[in-house]
């Protein structure tokens, strides 16, 4: 199963992620 998030955000929004990394519920995805 998969979860896809699609959202609008200001242009300075950045993801704190790397492709392929493991993530757990509650950990940061990104911020301005």
């Amino acid at each position: 199963s998969t979860i896809v998030l699609i959202f609008e955000a200001p242009k300075d929004f950045t993801f704190n992620l790397n492709s392929g990394q493991k993530i757990r519920f509650g950990e940061a995805l990104g911020s301005m």
Binding site: S1, T2, I3, S19, F25, L29, S31
Partner: protein
Amino acid sequence: LQTMSLRAVTRARAIRLLVATGGGYVGYWQYGKYKEQKQEHQEIEILRPPNIANPWQVGLYKSIPTRLLSRAWGRLNQVELPTWMRKPVYNLYIWTFGVNMKEAAVEDLQHYRNLSEFFRRKLKPQARPVCGSHCVISPSDGKILHFGRVKNCEVEQVKGVTYSLETFLGPQTWCENLEISNSKTETFQDQLVTKEGNDLYHCVIYLAPGDYHCFHSPTDWRVSHRRHFPGSLMSVNPGVARWIKELFCHNERVVLAGEWIHGFFSLTAVGATNVGSIRIYFDSDLHTNSPRYMKGSYNDFSFVTNNNKEGITMRKGEHLGEFNLG
């Protein structure tokens, strides 16, 4: 004699030193060569176009009755296991998929009557602290397949393999509840962006069989609309996501759309062969992986009613839904 032995010792030391430095140099040189080759290989991997399935291969895969198989699998896993069978069955699952039972709210395996119950096990409250300093958090455990800005109305399921944003979310007939523009000159992507200076972003999280399969609200937002797309139930593992273009548009999915502080926000749960059912806790009307729904259609439900103009308010980290076997 004494002079000769001293000479021999000196010579032996020199040889050892030579061998050590020479060996070191050869090792270093080999390591450099190995690193160079690895880098070259990685660059080739990046440049190489992904091996996409032909339309007939996709058609053949889609012709497999995955929905029927999924429902049969679900039924099988709802059968109550005798107490003596529970530990070995669940231990096999734990061992195969690397489940961490120390995080489970109930660690006692005998407690779970069947594999379906075990699959939707809850976590201990302290197992997943919710990050307070970032505005968007991960709604589930899993693996990040891809993330970034949405470009040209196309979203990437993995690097280089795209799907259409419009096919994935469906037509914007639901946008009357949201402050979304409906100008015919704008692209579908532009219509979703409600505020000037904003952009559209996406993130794909893959949940492996051993992962915690409940999902939570990724931010503070208001859910105004649900759209259920009955569809195929092909595997969504990263290998298949790399192979089948538009995989997420073929598969059964539930789109929750609404608004957050910066405008449009949506969360979509995409089903898979073994995990075909999606449950949203506040939506009792939703029935996924059901034979009564035809592939290719979609069913809408609005949470914005006369009594509830706001929709469903969700707080960051709040329980939102779960995936189920079958």
